[in-house]
Amino acid sequence: MSSLSHDHQPNAKERTLVVNADSDTYQESEDLIWERFKTGNETALTYIYRTYSNTLFNYGCQFVDDRDLVRDTLQDLFIDLINSRERLGATSSIKFYLMKSFRNKLVKAIKKSQRRREVEDDSSKDSFLVTISAEARWINGQLDQRKEKLIQESLNQLPALQREALVLYFFEGLKYEQIAEMLGIKVKSSRALIYRSTESLGKILGPHKEEILTMLSLSLLANQ
């Protein structure tokens, strides 16, 4: 029956595709897409823009309440990358590479615009506000709205940099090492930032932890 399978020979371009036969999907690995972007390939550029423009925009808007500034910086980022493409390094995580470059650019742009408007205000207390909203409530309502609100308030009282580290870790999915590189701190410090935040989560859940766990196990047993 093998005669039925089509006899298409992949050309050089297609050989860069990493085919995952198990999940019936196909995807190209990011380092290859990045290399193709550096040669000026439009398909690679389109992929990168489509996949990451809104992630970057959303992240940028957490710094400053100025859509136009964030959008213009995003555009500058892409154009600068294109114009300096043969000097760009290799990367296996396009997202991290973009976020890091974008952050540098945006921080500079924000400073410049504040100088121009002669404002000295440190608006960082409003940056990187987080919210807690569980999709599935814990059994017996242990992560109920009251508790969510409590966690949210305590997280939003943390310094802005710590909140940023927190969302980079829990929402954007970056690693300790990447967060350190991005924020210009030591890996040890980026771990410390996350540890401190998770401890304050633990404190809120803490007082009833034993009790919650017992109830959870009981209700799980009952459900079986």
Partner: protein, 339 residues
């Protein structure tokens, strides 16, 4: 790493755990499912930690509006094209190429001097036809560097060499084009009363003669489609133009990339299609003949995606959900009733 003594904070602080929650894949899924089934007493604390990770979000989510998205995208594409067209820098390899070219010209001049009769011939444009039978696919490189991937049961008519002013080809069936950029010579594709004009892009054209529509799906760049009756439309990336052959109208919409471009990567896609439509696709894709038992009713619709799967695997799946039996006899498949 011993996770047995882990409490909720410890899980939250563990990169490997968090990356499983945010980006599950085969490897980490395998590990954590295995781990939880080994230590079922940790199931609830894992669930709690997982839920907590997933619940943390920005208080205000912002997205680019459609206009902002397109506007930024257009400037970015333009920058990339300008960059691609910038004057080139002399590199050592060009010296070698130049020397080779001069040598070739010298040889040609000598040949012409020795055989004066062969000079002055008028060159006529030679047309070539690339054709695929059902069950075949084929990639063709045209003289301008454009690559065309022909889907099964299709043909492309093209000149051996393009002239200085135009690049015109004719398509019957379906093909994916990756057109080499050349602003001085637009690339044109004629297909069943619809002409598609581009400068340098990649896109898919589906124009099987037995189908009532011609569809053009754009991946990169800018494409112009024009009907014989005068209708026209500009298509940008993620746009699809559907041309109704009978009425001449062009409808613009978005498209699902896998459904329309998947075939270039060996993905066969059925999107809520009737069984007769599916059998037609299968005949073309595998180069077989599918015969349906007389008087048998084919009802229902079917969706699915198959990457480089054999015909049996696909028929097995469809026959199970659509309740029919089949038998394969070399290149002929007989579909018959379950009873």
């Amino acid at each position: 790493m011993d996770y047995r003594n882990y409490d909720i904070e410890d899980f939250l602080q563990d990169e490997f755990f968090v990356s499983w929650v945010l980006h599950p894949n085969k490897e980490n899924d395998h590990f954590w499912n295995q781990w939880i089934s080994t230590y079922p007493e940790k199931h609830t604390v894992v669930e709690q930690a997982k839920e907590l990770v997933k619940s943390i979000k920005y208080q205000e989510e912002q997205r680019l509006s459609e206009a902002e998205y397109t506007q930024v995208f257009e400037s970015v594409l333009k920058a990339n094209r300008d960059r691609n067209n910038r004057t080139f820098i002399w590199q050592p390899k060009y010296t070698v190429r130049l020397a080779a070219t001069i040598a070739l010209l010298l040889v040609a001049a000598i040949v012409l001097v020795l055989n004066p009769d062969s000079s002055g011939e008028i060159q006529s444009v030679k047309m070539l036809v690339a054709k695929t039978e059902p069950g075949q696919k084929r990639t063709i490189k045209l003289s301008d560097g454009t690559t065309v991937m022909l889907n099964a049961g299709s043909s492309l008519v093209y000149p051996e060499h393009f002239t200085d002013s135009s690049r015109l080809v004719t398509l019957f069936g379906e093909a994916f084009f990756d057109v080499e950029k050349d602003p001085s010579r637009p690339f044109e594709i004629e297909s069943n009363k619809l002409t598609t004009t581009v400068l340098g892009t990649s896109f898919n054209v589906r124009s099987y003669p037995e189908e009532a529509t011609v569809s053009v799906a754009v991946i990169t760049g800018r494409v112009e489609v024009k009907g014989e009756s005068g209708s026209s439309e500009i298509l940008l990336p993620e746009d699809m133009g559907t041309f109704d052959v009978a009425s001449g109208a062009i409808e613009k919409s978005h498209f699902d990339e896998t459904s329309w471009i998947g075939w270039t990567k060996g993905v066969l896609v059925f999107d809520n299609q009737t069984l007769p439509e599916i059998f037609k696709e299968l005949e073309n894709w595998y180069g077989v003949k599918i015969e349906v038992q007389k008087g048998m009713k084919l009802e229902g619709r079917y969706s699915g995606q198959y990457l480089n799967k054999s015909l049996e695997v696909i028929l097995e799946g469809i026959s199970y959900t659509s309740h029919f039996k089949y038998s394969i006899n070399q290149k002929t498949i007989l579909i018959y009733d379950e009873k």
